[in-house]
């Protein structure tokens, strides 16, 4: 984490804000209403120090959308939202006829899409600004408790660092907050910093 200084973090916040703007645009086209997404903060934490506070994991269960990105760095990215709130948002997006608890399989697919839009927007903004190409797996949606999530994040010794973004999302007058978590290996973190440095060097 010493590798990321204030300017690096500023750059990441700016990059993810651009991603958030793109995601908001995509979502607003789907719901035909204004969507607000913002990324107020970015933090790098070493995996062994993660606890439920760092991920705002207060009240589960959580809906988690996962995509695995590869390229100049590899990162498993997980978008985490309180499941009930996220399902309400998705159910609003689907229109008033379908309600919570019904059509569970369709809500899960819609959550997958919501997560996919946000993850893709954030990562593509990164790729655009820092000038590299990324590939990704298809999104995968699961529901997990806070403990299960923490366990999953900590179990992989190859990913000692976690980049955590706090995300605020408001669609159709319903707002919620979530976290976007990147699990990074040390090499990946170093590569990321390297790319940011390279980008910043053009503007010093």
């Amino acid at each position: 984490m010493n590798q990321l200084n204030e300017l690096h973090i500023d750059a990441l916040v700016e990059i993810f804000s651009i991603g958030a703007g793109r995601a908001a645009l995509s979502l607003s086209e789907i719901v035909s209403d204004e969507v607000r997404i913002s990324v107020p903060s970015v933090q790098v934490i070493s995996t062994k120090n993660i606890n439920s506070t760092s991920l705002s994991l207060s009240c589960g269960p959580f809906g988690a959308v996962t995509q695995h990105f590869s390229g100049p760095f590899n990162a498993e990215t997980v978008l985490l939202f309180n499941e009930e709130q996220a399902l309400k948002i998705v159910s609003d997006m689907m229109g008033s006829q379908m309600s919570l608890g019904e059509l569970a399989q369709f809500e899960h697919e819609a959550m997958c899409e919501l997560g996919n839009i946000i993850l893709n927007a954030c990562l593509s903004a990164m790729a655009d600004v820092l000038n590299f190409t990324l590939e990704s797996s298809l999104p995968h949606y699961t529901v997990a408790s806070a403990d299960e999530i923490l366990h999953r994040l900590k179990k992989n010794a190859n990913q000692p660092y976690v980049l955590v973004l706090h995300i605020d999302l408001a669609i159709e007058k319903r707002s919620t907050a979530g976290n976007l978590v990147f699990l990074l290996s040390s090499t990946s973190l170093t590569n990321l910093v390297h790319h940011i440095d390279h980008f910043l060097s053009n503007f010093a």
Binding site: L7, D10, A11, V13, E14, I15, S17, I18, G19, A20, G21, R22, A24, L25, S28, E34, V35, S38, A125, D128, V129, L200, N202, F203, A204
Partner: protein
């Protein structure tokens, strides 16, 4: 009124240091003689503008304190001669509309040479 090469004053308003750096660098690449000042919030921008009137201004929307669109509205009310470009990650139609209704334009981030040229053209063409 003035030739393109005359010295202009530009105020950059954005809470992100990196963003301000980008805009500054790209602008100076096109117009190295322009005088650039910076503000990190809408409130600060309003104060700076009252003390030292710039010709042009770039404004982000999402900043701590009042949103950039409100700041732009207040600045233009007092100083209608300023040309403002809203530079933002918020690019939905509602924001475009608001920008236009204020007499400004919205340019999507990321800040690139292309988007800066768009902004500069807007500044200069409106004279």
């Amino acid at each position: 009124m003035f030739a393109d090469s005359s010295i202009k004053k530009l105020l950059i308003v954005d809470d992100s240091k990196v963003s301000r750096m980008l805009i500054r660098t790209h602008i100076l690449a096109q117009h190295p003689d322009w005088i650039i000042s910076e503000a990190i919030s809408g409130e600060e921008a309003i104060t700076l503008v009252d003390n030292d009137l710039p010709d042009y201004c770039t404004m982000d929307i999402n900043m701590p304190g009042i949103p950039g669109t409100d700041a732009a509205e207040r600045i233009l009310a007092k100083h209608p001669s300023i040309k403002i470009v809203i530079f933002s990650a918020n690019i939905q139609e509602a924001h475009h509309k608001r920008a236009r209704s204020l007499g400004t334009i919205l340019v999507a981030k990321p800040v690139t040479e292309k988007s800066i040229v768009l902004a500069i053209n807007y500044f200069i063409d409106s004279e």
